[in-house]
């Protein structure tokens, strides 16, 4: 290779993006640790543990959103099962966290508590190695990756597309959820894993650990963004876009869409798994409801709100929706679904490209207001305008990788 890959990751970033990344890194790696660890609790700028954990959690969601955007926004494959990959990563790392409890559980046994009271004599085989940090980190990537690879291999090979794909991913996560609910499955039933104590021997509740997890999440997010950006601007990304547009045409010029889809799909699942692994120690629980179909739909909703097909949009969407949810469930606990519901409707109606699309439009408007020409109103609010912008596209909703 001519230039090291890490350099190439940064090389084609526009200046504004580099500045934004730098600011973000500064905030995540300097401001948050200082505000949480150094400033005393009474200080006005002190950042409480609540906020660090909350922001850390949202960072994990952002990673998931980026992973989702890669597959949905850029490859046109809507997955309604990404919650499962996230949860699998979480469970993989959760096993390690459970093992780290050691004999501090209620029963003082080497086995996790739930195994004791379900009368398991020993760890099931798939828990082998779960006391190794590195192995479980590997599992957190490998399990979602392998599941995604196998599933994707069959699905893409059979040319399952559009809603058909979406629905079977939904079936997949739903089946996984039911499976994990069972006590026999060996993952704690619906209670899942909780009451973690340590990572690598360090208390999980210490402020330092909290900041470390936060910083790791931020690092992973930055990595995902750079990687995503690199992918979508590479020829690989253009092939993906082409597949999204006209898969059969792509085959006729000699690309095998199966391999392309499978690669991005698996990558996306692996990123989700990593996000899940970081999420679990920060929120302190992993249980099967993370695999519920609604959770996966929500991931898609974040991306749509932020702006599908824009990495930063995915990040913004995950942030906005989750902060809004946090804010509303506290201030208007009984009415927050109205707020959130109307937010989603408003975004679709008034920001067809999501929040990021709106921002972009505002910018380009301001910058390129032609003096002599009166631009046509291009927000498709009249049926005719709608039809016009559509006539260049395929109308069949199924063909468009819905």
């Amino acid at each position: 290779m001519r230039t090291p890959f890490t350099v190439r990751l940064f090389s084609n970033l526009p200046a504004s993006a580099r500045i934004a990344l730098a600011l973000f890194a500064l905030a995540a790696f300097v401001w948050v640790p200082v505000a949480h660890l150094v400033l005393p609790a009474e200080h006005a700028l002190h950042l409480s543990g609540y906020w660090v954990s909350l922001l850390g959690k949202i960072l994990c969601y952002m990673i998931v959103a980026v992973a989702m955007d890669l597959i949905w926004g850029y490859a046109g494959i809507l997955s309604l099962g990404h919650g499962m990959f996230f949860a699998l990563g979480g469970y993989a790392f959760g096993m390690y966290l459970m093992r780290q409890i050691g004999r501090d559980g209620s029963y003082g046994s080497d086995l996790p508590d739930f195994m004791v009271f379900l009368a398991w004599e020993e760890l099931p085989w798939y828990w082998a190695g779960s006391d190794s940090f590195l192995w479980t980190v590997f599992l957190a990537m490998a399990v979602p990756g392998v599941v995604a690879f196998i599933f994707g291999w069959f699905a893409f090979r059979s040319r399952i597309k559009g809603v058909y794909f979406s629905i079977i991913t939904q079936a997949l996560t739903y089946a996984a959820m039911l499976l994990f609910f069972r006590n026999e499955t060996g993952f704690g039933g619906n209670n899942g894993f909780t009451d973690f104590k340590r990572i690598l021997g360090h208390s999980i509740t210490s402020p330092e650990m909290r900041v470390t997890l936060f910083a790791l999440s931020a690092l992973l997010l930055i990595f995902c963004l750079l990687l995503g950006r690199y992918l979508v601007t590479s020829r690989f990304g253009r092939v993906l876009a082409a597949i999204r547009d006209a898969e059969s045409r792509v085959m006729f010029i000699g690309y095998n869409p199966l391999h392309y889809k499978l690669f991005i799909w698996t990558l996306s699942a692996v990123l989700c798994g990593l996000a899940g692994a970081l999420y679990v120690p920060q929120v302190g629980i992993i249980n099967p409801s993370e695999m519920s179909p609604a959770n996966s739909i929500e991931i898609a909703v974040w991306v749509a709100v932020g702006g599908r097909g824009s990495l930063i949009g995915a990040v913004v969407g995950a942030g906005v929706v989750n902060l809004a949810k946090t804010w509303f469930t506290v201030t208007v606990p009984e009415y927050w679904p109205f707020m959130l519901g109307f937010l989603f409707i408003a975004v679709t109606l008034f920001m067809p490209q999501g929040i990021v699309g709106l921002v972009r439009k505002l910018f380009s408007r301001r910058r390129a207001q032609p003096a002599d020409e009166k631009p046509a109103d291009d927000t498709p609010t009249t049926p005719a305008a709608d039809a016009a912008d559509e006539s260049t596209q395929t109308r069949d909703p199924l063909a468009r990788g819905a």
């Binding site: 069959f154 059979s158 079977i168 089946a175 179909p293 909703v301 709100v305 519901g341 937010l343 679709t348």
Partner: protein, 539 residues
């Protein structure tokens, strides 16, 4: 045995004396208050044959109005306390009475006792019911009664039941001939419980050191008769069980279908990924609830018809909600199915919470009208619940309606054309916006009908729709998007498949297997069961 006969005698004499209240000897009544269950039951049996007065007491006991006031048996009517012995009201507060607790045991004793009386004296319906009760609760004591009934009864159905009941008792007889006759007679039964009775007859007692012991029943002819009867019953039972599974599969299928049909239009035909579909079901169910309440308060005498009245109401209310959704939000999203996912997800949040704050978060109570309650016994051993039968029929009705609408009307053709090529449909003169609204309204209305049907089976609450949305999408997609016939076969296929699996593996594993099956099936047919074929399909 002897004691009850004696009591009977006493009672009959007292009854002849004509004084209703005096007819109930104090020891009978005090027996009711006894700590011993046996005595209580005896007292109840005595009451059952004690004529109108006894019946009155039994009614009071069942209604929980019977009690004791300082050990004196009394009936509480509203606020007045009536002395059982004298029939006179007492100067006592109802709250001072310590009521006799009725529980299942007492209730069963009452019904058995009553049946014993009604079997001879009741109306035809009462006799049949009594015979059914007694088959399960036969005892030696009743043998003379059975013999009389077999002799005198005019209704064959009652007679057959009593023969079975009698045979059950006689199976324990000391006389091999009786036992053989009983075992033979029981061969006509379709009741699994009879198998439990017969089985011991053909088994050996445990012998020494693993060697076979003596037969439970020493008489070979009895054993042979029992074995024959067991085979006959098992065959009948197995047949009934299979029919029952198929029916329950069809029934589940029809529920899936009704839940999915609306979606087959809004999503399948129009291409709107309608995440608020479940909430349209909910709207239909709530509309049904409101209709029920109107009937309950305004026309209680016509309460049984509320479901019929709810059919148009559920349709139009859900359709109206659909129109509002379409006009305000979805019309801007045609051809952008992904955005419709987002917007309808928002709509669904709003609708759920709206239901929650207006109707409360709890489930609402919906009663089946009487003609949808209970079950019909198709043949012995197989009874099908009415509400399910009605719903299977209803799903056929709705299906027919939609099929006619989509295939036989111009509107249906317009809808299909508009969704295939919206601008061009306008260019041949179709008012696309109006067609969209109409089509969405119909889809929503059909979802409302689905909600109505669900309200007769499952719970009605703000989040009820969430439970159906996943299944509905599975049905539509498995069938092949846009294919009505596909949705139908998918729904019934899944229904029956699920039910057979459930029998094998239990509900949880069955559900998981069904999902896995769907995933694998789509691999084989990536466009659903009724895949669109043709060159346009993959372009």
């Amino acid at each position: 045995m002897f004691r009850s006969l004696l009591r009977l005698l006493v009672l009959l004499i007292a009854f002849a004396a004509g004084s209703v209240h005096a007819a109930l000897p104090p020891e009978v009544l005090s027996g009711l208050g006894s700590k011993s269950f046996g005595e209580r039951i005896d007292a109840i049996e005595a009451l059952a044959i004690a004529g109108p007065a006894g019946a009155q007491v039994l009614d009071a006991i069942e209604a929980g109005d019977f009690g004791a006031l300082d050990e004196r048996p009394v009936i509480v009517r509203g606020d007045t306390v009536i002395d059982m012995a004298s029939g006179e009201p007492l100067e006592a507060a109802a709250s001072d009475v310590s009521k006799l607790r009725v529980n299942n045991r007492v209730r069963r004793a009452i019904s058995t006792a009553r049946a014993g009386v009604e079997l001879e004296t009741g109306s035809e319906a009462q006799r049949l019911a009594a015979a059914q009760t007694l088959v399960d609760n036969a005892s030696e004591r009743l043998l003379p009664l059975f013999d009389r009934v077999i002799e005198n009864e005019t209704l064959a159905s009652v007679r057959e039941l009593v023969v079975l009941a009698r045979a059950r008792v006689l199976l324990g007889s000391d006389d091999p001939a009786d036992r053989r006759a009983a075992a033979e007679a029981l061969g006509e039964s379709s009741d699994r419980a009879v198998l439990t009775l017969l089985a011991p007859l053909v088994e050996r007692q445990p012998g020494e050191a693993g060697a076979p012991g003596p037969w439970n029943d020493p008489d070979a002819s009895v054993r042979a008769a029992a074995a024959d009867s067991i085979t006959a019953i098992e065959r009948r039972v197995a047949f009934a069980a299979n029919v029952a599974i198929v029916f329950s599969g069809v029934s589940l299928g029809s529920i899936l279908l009704l839940a999915a049909l609306g979606l087959a239009i809004t999503f399948g035909v129009m291409g709107v990924i309608n995440m608020a579909h479940g909430e349209l079901l909910m709207v239909g169910a709530y509309a049904t609830y409101l209709v029920q309440n109107v009937f309950r308060t305004q026309f209680p005498e016509y309460f049984d018809f509320y479901v019929l009245a709810a059919v148009p109401v559920a349709f139009f209310v859900a359709a109206a909600v659909g129109v509002v959704m379409e006009r305000t939000v979805l019309r801007y999203l045609y051809g952008r199915p992904l955005e419709s996912l987002l917007a309808t997800w928002g709509l669904s949040l709003v609708l759920i919470q709206a239901a929650r704050v207006t109707f409360g978060p709890q489930n609402l109570e919906l009663s089946n009208p009487s003609w949808m309650s209970g079950s019909v016994e198709l043949f012995a051993g197989l009874s099908l619940p009415w509400n399910r039968i009605v719903i299977v029929g209803f799903s056929g009705f709705v299906l027919l309606l939609i099929w006619l609408m989509m295939q036989r009307t111009r509107l249906g053709m317009f809808v299909r054309a508009v969704t295939q090529n919206r601008p061009m449909a306008g260019c041949v003169g179709v008012p696309t916006a109006r067609v969209d609204t109409m089509a969405f309204a119909i889809g929503a209305g059909v979802a409302g009908l689905g909600g109505l049907a669900l309200s007769q089976i499952a719970n009605v609450g703000p989040a009820m729709g969430q439970g159906y949305i996943v299944d509905s999408f599975m049905v539509v997609v498995l069938g092949g998007v846009g294919q009505l016939a596909g949705a139908v076969s998918a729904a019934f296929g899944l229904g029956i498949f699920t039910k057979f699996l459930e029998g094998w593996t239990g509900a949880v594993v069955a559900k998981i297997l069904v999902l896995v099956f769907i995933i694998m099936f789509i691999q084989k047919r990536p466009q659903g069961i009724f895949a669109l074929k043709g060159r346009f399909a993959d372009q």
